[in-house]
Amino acid sequence: MHDFLVGHYFYWFIFLLMTIGLAGIILKRNLIKKVIGMSILQVAIILFFVASASKWDATVPILDPALGAADVTKYINPLPHCLMLTAIVVGVATSGVAFALIIMIWRRFRTLDENELLEKLKNDPD
């Protein structure tokens, strides 16, 4: 049990971060804060991948003559990092689209508060 809690401490922090992100998306009334929650959730997922590749007593995955290529445990798996480069790009694009939509919403309804927005939508004709 002790090993399970301490050995995975990094994952507990990621879990906490994910919860904070989801709570931001669900509980916060302001649309900008929802986007912040989204970013936190994305960062948590990115950290999850990056953490999964970390390894003690290993080095960057570039062939080192001193270590040789025979023992792959001497190197860190580079794939999760590469995947996360793409995921970061996706995250940036998502935030960009979200902010563009927020600008449109602000211009049309002059509010970013979810409750006020729902109220205005209900009273809006069409």
Partner: protein, 502 residues
């Protein structure tokens, strides 16, 4: 050259068009639509050709950059992906023919070029999702398609940015969950390739991490396919999006989520894992059954035609989910056949809603009467045919997929699901006959402006023709369904679920 590259061709055609359209349209705006149509036609031709290629020579693999599969990204053209790409590309082609005039009416001129470029990008994403054999590649295409879809929704009515924002938040969470599932899967197996994972997973066994991975992936696809109770984004998005967007995303968008579910559950984890080790298929079928009833009941309460169709989509996606959840060959055949059928029916119905909006200026059910029908007899006829198909009257296509689903429930002896299918057919009849009754039996209102414009004022041929083609295809494909099912669909059935027709 073409045969070996066949799997990658359709997504690349759309991707290329998405890049060329903004450049070419710098000089001549009208080129945007021409190029979009050309790309859609080329992709439809390629994907129909792919069906015959698969029937002839079996599954085709394409390696990106020449790297062999477990390391490199592989595209797989098997009977299932060939069928789904053909359905989505043909539907997109027909809808794009219709889209020219509605886009011109719905959007200011400066937005036309980016609109068509985004449509191409979205179609590229959808094709990529279906054809890829790599889980992370699937995530990238999922996000490409979703991001373009948010943009396509947000250019609609006054309220559309709010609907698009809600979809963005929920869709991002869905994509994130899927990615997390992929992460768990990768940590435990060391592979992202679907075929490779299928070989590795039995050796890994039912470890908690694998189960968590499966649950996260199902959750992600469930959000994308609007499986009840994850459907919250759908009604507003369909209602407020421009006609062209809603008639593209209704037949295609949610089906892609269903395809992902099918792929993950039966082609990677295997039928034993998802029904016995983790009874996830049963959960999906109960959620789908709840969605069928919820969508049908909510559809009855709607006054706006597009909103009614949106809730009906939740119910129809429920059929697909139910077929997947039954996890027997007949249920899967019904589900995949329903992807085709619902694609055609919903495209036809949304085109009809677009036609009403074009000519009458609205698509409110309460304002429809026989005056509308007298003005637009062909559109009304197409609506009636598609509505009959939704209810499931033979010989339209709707009957046959429900027939396979019903046979599937009988095979599993799940009588409650059989009752749900029958009850929802009745509910479908209630909410569609409400409209048909108004169109054909309710006398025209006196103060209606229809009086002054007595006589026909059908929409332009470029809008009417796609509507009628889709409506007729409902009957033609209904009559030919046995060819499709026996010739193509039985071949996709995953191992452990083979089925031979008597």
């Amino acid at each position: 050259m073409i045969p070996t590259n066949a799997p990658a061709l359709a997504p690349l055609i759309f991707l290329l068009a998405a890049l060329i359209i903004p450049l070419a349209a710098l000089r001549i705006r009208r080129l945007a639509y021409v190029l979009a149509m050309a790309a859609a036609a080329a992709a439809a031709a390629v994907s129909v050709g792919n069906i015959f290629r698969v029937l002839e020579s079996g599954t085709v693999h394409y390696r990106f950059g020449g790297w062999p599969p477990p390391l490199g990204i592989e595209y797989v053209l098997d009977p299932l992906s060939a069928f789904i790409t053909a359905v989505i590309n043909l539907t997109a082609l027909v809808v794009l023919v219709h889209a020219r005039l509605t886009v011109a009416a719905d959007l200011p001129e400066r937005k036309h070029v980016p609109y068509y470029a985004l449509v191409m990008l979205m179609m590229s994403g959808f094709n990529g999702i279906v054809l890829t054999g790599d889980f992370f590649n699937l995530y990238v295409f999922l996000e490409i398609a979703s991001l373009s879809l948010y943009g396509l929704i947000a250019v609609g009515d006054r309220k559309s940015p709010v609907a698009a924002f809600r979809y963005l938040v929920i869709g991002m969470v869905g994509g994130g969950f899927y990615l997390l599932g992929v992460g768990f899967l990768y940590i435990n197996s060391g592979s992202l390739n679907m075929a490779d994972l299928k070989a590795i997973l039995p050796a890994v066994g039912a470890r908690p991490e694998i189960i968590v991975a499966l649950c996260f992936m199902v959750l992600g696809f469930g959000i994308k396919m609007a499986l009840f109770p994850l459907h919250g984004w759908l009604p507003d998005a369909y209602t407020y999006a421009p006609t062209a967007t809603s008639s593209l995303m209704a037949p295609i968008g949610t089906k892609i989520g269903a395809y992902g579910l099918l792929r993950v559950l039966f082609f990677v984890f295997g039928v034993n894992f998802v029904t016995r080790t983790v009874p996830l298929a049963q959960v999906i079928s109960w959620l789908a059954a709840a969605g069928i009833l919820y969508g049908s009941i909510m559809a009855m309460a709607q006054d706006e035609l597009k909103r009614m169709l949106a809730f009906s989509s939740i119910a129809q996606v429920g059929y697909i989910g139910l077929g997947i959840g039954l996890a027997n060959p007949l249920g899967l055949l019904g589900a995949v056949l329903h992807v085709l059928n619902h694609g055609l029916m919903k495209a036809c119905l949304f085109l009809v809603a677009g036609n009403f909006r074009m000519r009458l200026g609205h698509s409110r059910i309460r304002a429809l009467d026989s005056g509308a029908r007298r003005r637009m007899p062909w559109t009304s006829a197409a609506f009636t045919l598609a509505a009959l198909s939704m209810i499931g009257l033979p010989p339209t296509v709707g009957f046959f997929s429900k027939w396979y689903l019903a046979l599937g429930t009988i095979r599993n002896r799940s009588w409650i699901f059989l009752a749900v299918i029958l009850a929802s057919s009745l509910l479908n009849a209630v909410y569609f006959f409400r409209v048909i009754e108004r169109l054909y039996l309710r006398p025209a209102m006196q103060d209606n402006e229809a009086r002054e414009t007595e006589g026909r004022s059908e929409v332009a041929p470029s809008m009417l023709l796609p509507t009628l083609v889709l409506a007729l295809s409902l009957v033609v494909i209904g009559l030919l369904n046995v060819v499709i099912v026996k010739g193509l669909l039985v071949r996709f059935l995953p191992p452990g679920l083979e089925f031979a027709f008597p």
